[in-house]
């Protein structure tokens, strides 16, 4: 800057040098971040292993990383009492994904409907808040009593959990629509349906997509809890079985498997977010990525 002030021109060489220096600084920072992450992981997992090895923490109750690894290997090589791990995983995923889709669909539709209709939202609003404040996870017991041990009650519980997250976001998203935009298209002659297609839905999409990250986590929780409450197959059943035989390592192993799957789903949702919301200024989603 000071060079510019003195009237000198910036030579291409100097520009290139500045760019190189910037890149090098960025690389250094990235290296340090990864180093910090690795150290943290080693400290936590290694500390756990060490403490249980020394007997300061009882591995009978709290498991041990090496034993968890053994359980994982066993789950994938020997399978479980209820079939291979893949079969069980497939059942759980099926429940979670179906519940996720159902809950999202209903949440988006109802959220947009109630958000754009003042009368409806005034009438239904208090009830939604009441339902939201009750512990919905308990509904799982009712669903299993009513619909048996099959897949359906799990889908239902996952959908109920997903619904509220998505619904409130869709509702809020519609409320946040720029009224100038609505006025603008109405003056241009848009019908209510066109207003919804061109303004309300795209505008609410930011909120809805943001809620999907949390919603998928809830879908998995719904499916697992319902399986723990009563099932014939699924990761939740493996977990409750392991609990019954005092086997914390298998419980942790199942947690690891589910965590990997959730991370994968998260990644897919981020891809969706990027493609649907590519119009957005970049800094917002980047700061989320950290």
């Amino acid at each position: 800057m000071s060079a510019l002030a003195q009237g000198e021109t910036v030579t291409p060489q100097r520009q290139a040098a500045a760019a190189d220096a910037g890149k090098a600084a960025h690389r250094r920072l990235t290296r340090w971040i990864w180093a910090g992450r690795a150290i943290l992981a080693v400290a936590v997992v290694g500390g756990w292993q060490w403490f249980t090895e020394e007997g300061w923490v009882d591995k009978f109750f709290f498991g041990q990383p090496s034993e968890i690894w053994n359980s994982l290997v066993k789950l994938f090589t020997e399978g479980t009492a209820f079939g291979t791990i893949w079969e069980n995983l497939w059942v759980t995923m099926q429940e979670a994904i179906l519940g996720f889709l159902l809950g999202t669909l209903v949440g988006v539709v109802l959220g947009i409907l109630l958000g754009s209709n003042k009368y409806l939202s005034a009438v239904v609003g208090p009830y939604i808040r009441i339902v939201n404040s009750i512990p919905r996870i308990v509904l799982g017991s009712i669903f299993i009593v009513a619909f048996g041990l099959g897949v359906f009650p799990k889908v239902l519980l996952a959908a109920v959990l997903v619904f509220f997250v998505v619904f409130f976001n869709a509702f809020q998203g519609v409320r946040e629509v720029d009224q100038n935009l609505v006025a603008n298209v109405r003056v241009l002659g848009a019908t209510p349906v066109q207003v919804a297609i061109h303004v309300t839905i795209p505008s609410a999409m930011t909120w809805i997509i943001a809620s999907l990250h949390t919603a998928f986590g809830f879908a998995i929780i719904g499916a697992l809890v319902a399986e723990v409450l009563g099932a014939q197959q699924g990761v939740g059943l493996i977990i409750s079985q392991a609990q019954g035989t005092f086997d914390p390592n298998t419980v942790f192993a199942c947690m690891v498997i589910i965590a990997v799957i959730t991370l994968g789903a998260e990644y897919l949702i981020s891809l969706l977010e990027h493609s649907v919301l590519k119009w957005r200024p970049p800094n917002r989603s980047e700061s989320q990525a950290i």
Partner: protein
């Protein structure tokens, strides 16, 4: 207030359906002339005895404007100035047909406004662009909503982007443009349907001084080509005098028409920066300020009193 009020005229959409059949789809890419079949070419605006009351959230009535009477001749450029909160925007909303007047009537081209007025375009201070649509798709919205086939609408939009000097920016998103460029997009989007009435609510209020001057010049050029009737809200007296044929001064809340000044500066006005220094301009500007000053003082005293 305006958020609530825009919801009030939901029933007003019925009239629009007739429009798509009325307006021929064959608009050429050059688009120099008003499409044939647009009846009456330019339409004047006649507002008489217009009163608008709102219900506040507490359930009280709030009178935004009372007994506003003014007229805009076909193809005339009319500005409304007045202290903040005097109901300028409310007046525009009644003309657009987005809201229904509590009393009095608005006539556009000889027809009383009931429901959204045909052939109206709106331009706001906050640029009402779709952040999720590209520049081209933003400009295309007008024709598309009228049922113009996509290919023709694209040609038309490209032509308009060229006219506002944004050729080559078709695929950008609004957030990638500067404030002045976004205004140009909004202007192209407002004019592409060749409106009979152009309603502008402080369109250049948020721009820096230089950009503002450039945009004013561009607006005048385009307006002289198309000649819609314009109702232009502004706080900037210079802007009002430089652009308009007529300047309406409104009183502080509840707003009503205080004075009407006819601006007899010759057309075409040329550079708005130059015209500011002419003797006649300064004289008119001084007279309008005389009229406006008391209202501004009164409005200020009131808000200051509320705050204390």
């Amino acid at each position: 207030m305006s958020k609530e009020s825009t919801d009030k005229g939901v029933a007003a959409n019925v009239a629009i359906d007739a429009r798509s059949t009325e307006r021929p789809h064959a608009m050429g890419a050059t688009h120099q002339h008003r499409p044939p079949g647009e009846t009456g070419a330019n339409a004047g605006i006649g507002i008489s005895g217009l009163t608008k009351r709102y219900l506040t959230p507490k359930g009280e009535t709030f009178t935004a404007i009372t007994d506003v009477t003014l007229s805009v001749e076909p193809g005339q450029f009319c500005s409304i100035v007045g202290p903040t909160g005097c109901g300028k925007s409310t007046t525009l909303a009644q003309v657009s047909g987005l809201e229904r007047p509590s009393e009095g009537s608005v006539r556009v081209g000889g027809h009383t406004v009931e429901g959204v007025t045909k052939g109206v375009s709106y331009m706001f201070q906050a640029d009402a662009l779709f952040p999720w649509k590209s520049v081209l798709n933003n400009v295309m919205m007008g024709p598309v909503l009228l049922g113009t086939p996509k290919r023709e609408a694209t040609l038309l939009a490209r032509d308009w982007l060229r006219r506002v000097g944004l050729a080559g920016f078709e695929d950008r998103y609004p957030h990638q443009l500067s404030g002045g460029m976004r205004k140009r997009v909004a202007m192209a989007a407002a004019l592409i349907n060749n409106p009979r009435i152009l309603l502008m609510d402080e369109p250049f209020g948020a721009l820096d001084v230089q950009t503002k001057a450039i945009m004013q010049n561009e607006l005048l050029t385009l307006w002289e080509e198309l000649r819609p009737s314009v109702l232009f809200i502004t706080h900037d007296l210079d802007e009002a005098v430089a652009l308009s044929d007529r300047v309406v001064v409104m009183t502080s809340s509840p707003g009503t028409v205080k004075d009407v000044f006819d601006i007899d500066l010759p057309r075409p006005r040329g550079d708005v920066q130059q015209i500011r220094h002419e003797e006649r301009f300064l004289e008119l500007q001084g007279r309008i300020w005389e009229s406006l000053k008391d209202e501004v003082t009164r409005a200020y005293a009131r808000t200051a009193g509320e705050a204390a």
